[in-house]
Amino acid sequence: MNKSLSPLAPPSYAATNAVFIRRSLTLSLRNTESLMMSIILPVMLMLLFTYVCGGAIAPGGDYANYVVPGIILLCAGYGAATTAVDVSTDMANGIIDRIRTMPIRSLFVVTGHVAASLARNLVASGVVIAVALLVGFRPNGSFVEWLAALGVIVLFILTLTWLYAAIGLVAGSPSAASGYGFILLFLPYLSSAFVPIDTMPHWLRGVASHQPITPLIETIRGLLLGTPIGDHAWIGAAWCAGLIAIALVWCGFAFKKRAGRR
């Protein structure tokens, strides 16, 4: 074999991840329209709920305090949904084939998208919280409680993003991925995000109480507004840990299957 063509040592896992994270972040920043939407849409939703529905739901005018934690999670959901489309797009074109013929862990291309989603969503959450403060959100959490709330938000974003990544891997096309993504977006509406659960019809309360969004929202409310948290923190964390584990395994299998499909 030609001596000048000596193979390079493959990059470390950390270096590979760094490259893919940088790629996904750059792609996110360049996809200006999508980036704008992921920030503007949650803000619009919050204004919609506070001003349009707020008067009817809470005539006292304190609805902003109630709804902001839910909006933060809803916004994370919208932002994370893009991950399904991004992952699916990578699978549909030739990029994944080239990456898979290189001596690197090709699944890390998905990690890159997850990291970018986390970054996008944290920025969007920041904007939502800033606007919320302008329209009457009056949190009373300490610095530590804010940090804890940030932790909950990060955990939730990661959970949803990994689920969306798996959806992106199993979806037949980017547009199908975008369609499936909508299913997860209904979860916040069936939780205590917008109205207290005890105002719902009896049969729906079971669904609304036993899904991951309700304990997470109640935890954030407790941390930022001082409402009782109770078991919500542990239940929410357990939901997220379980779902992330499922999503990771699902991603692993789906990636293998998908990448070998012709």
């Binding site: 000048s4 493959p10 270096a15 590979t16 490259v19 074109n93 030739g94 013929t101 001596p103």
Partner: protein, 294 residues
């Protein structure tokens, strides 16, 4: 002779459709091998098996001495692939695409920058290096794509229909690049539907049809297989043409033309020429290639 690519009895089915029905190929180091065939003949299936993307159902394949199934890690360190569809990030610039792939190949930042600049120069992309790939022409995209697959200097290069969809100028430019790569010592395995391309580039050509290798040899050998000369009859007014194989001797040509003369329209023209790859292809696969006229 050392072989860079050795394929034995390769079989693959997708569902109940048999795509490869036992193919044997051996490519010596430093040569260009062209797999020639119509759409659906099994060309891309070959590429994806040899590049470890998909497992074969039967038979074996070795790249640079490593088994594609058992030693895929070693194989991946020996190959690079330019697939049928440009595998570049359109929202990134050529420079960014190249640097990313350099880093993924294990280069440090400085080395990646140096290699990127070198490849941009080599592929005549320096001027457009900082523009996003989505603004590029088809030929430029192909060049970026090919440049990317060369970042790590792997000894075996796979090209799946490298010039499909390109205009003549871009195609010639790509041919030049492929010939230069061969001169640098690379082994190149390419698929094509263009007979001219295989004829021009390849040391050996395998003609594939229906998942089987129906013929193999050097371009000259393949052309020799259908005889010495070809008689081509054309009628411009009625817009048809026909080719007939002949040994090339005066007697044979005379016999064929005498037999036909009475039945041909009066303004039919006769040309006698060396067989082209088109003629070989039609003769071997019994199906007209897209370049031929019936």
């Amino acid at each position: 002779m050392k072989f860079a690519i050795e394929v034995k009895g390769l079989r693959k089915s997708f569902g109940d459709q048999q795509v490869l029905r036992g193919v044997d190929i051996a490519v010596p180091e430093g040569q260009i091998y062209a797999l020639l065939g119509p759409n659906g003949a099994g060309k891309t299936t070959h590429i994806i098996i040899l590049t470890t993307l998909v497992a074969a159902d039967g038979g074996s394949a070795r790249i640079a001495g490593y088994d594609v199934a058992a030693e895929s890690g070693k194989v991946k360190q020996s190959i690079s692939l330019t697939g049928q569809f440009a595998a570049v990030d359109e929202m990134l610039t050529a420079e960014e695409n190249l640097q990313m792939m350099c880093r993924l190949s294990g280069m440090k930042s400085a080395e990646a920058k140096r290699r990127t600049a070198e490849l941009l120069r080599q592929f005549d992309l320096t001027d457009a290096a900082r523009k996003r790939v989505k603004t590029y022409s088809g030929g430029m995209r192909r060049r970026v794509d090919l440049a990317i697959s060369l970042v790590a200097s792997r000894p075996v290069l796979f090209l799946d229909e490298p010039t499909t969809g390109l205009d003549t100028v871009s195609r010639r430019a790509l041919w030049d690049i492929i010939e230069r790569l061969k001169a640098s010592g690379m082994t190149i395995f390419l698929t094509t539907q263009y007979l001219e391309e295989a004829d021009q580039l390849a040391d050996r050509i395998g003609v594939i049809n229906g998942g089987r290798l129906v013929a193999e040899g050097t371009p000259t050998e393949l052309k020799a297989r259908i005889g010495g000369e070809v008689i081509e009859l054309t009628n411009e007014r009625e817009q048809w043409s026909r080719t007939l194989a002949t040994t090339g001797s005066a007697q044979d040509i005379g016999r064929i033309l005498n037999g036909l003369a009475a039945s041909l329209p009066p303004d039919t023209q006769v040309t006698i020429r060396r067989p082209s790859m088109d003629d070989v292809f039609i003769a071997l696969t019994h199906q007209p290639s897209e370049v031929s006229v019936s």
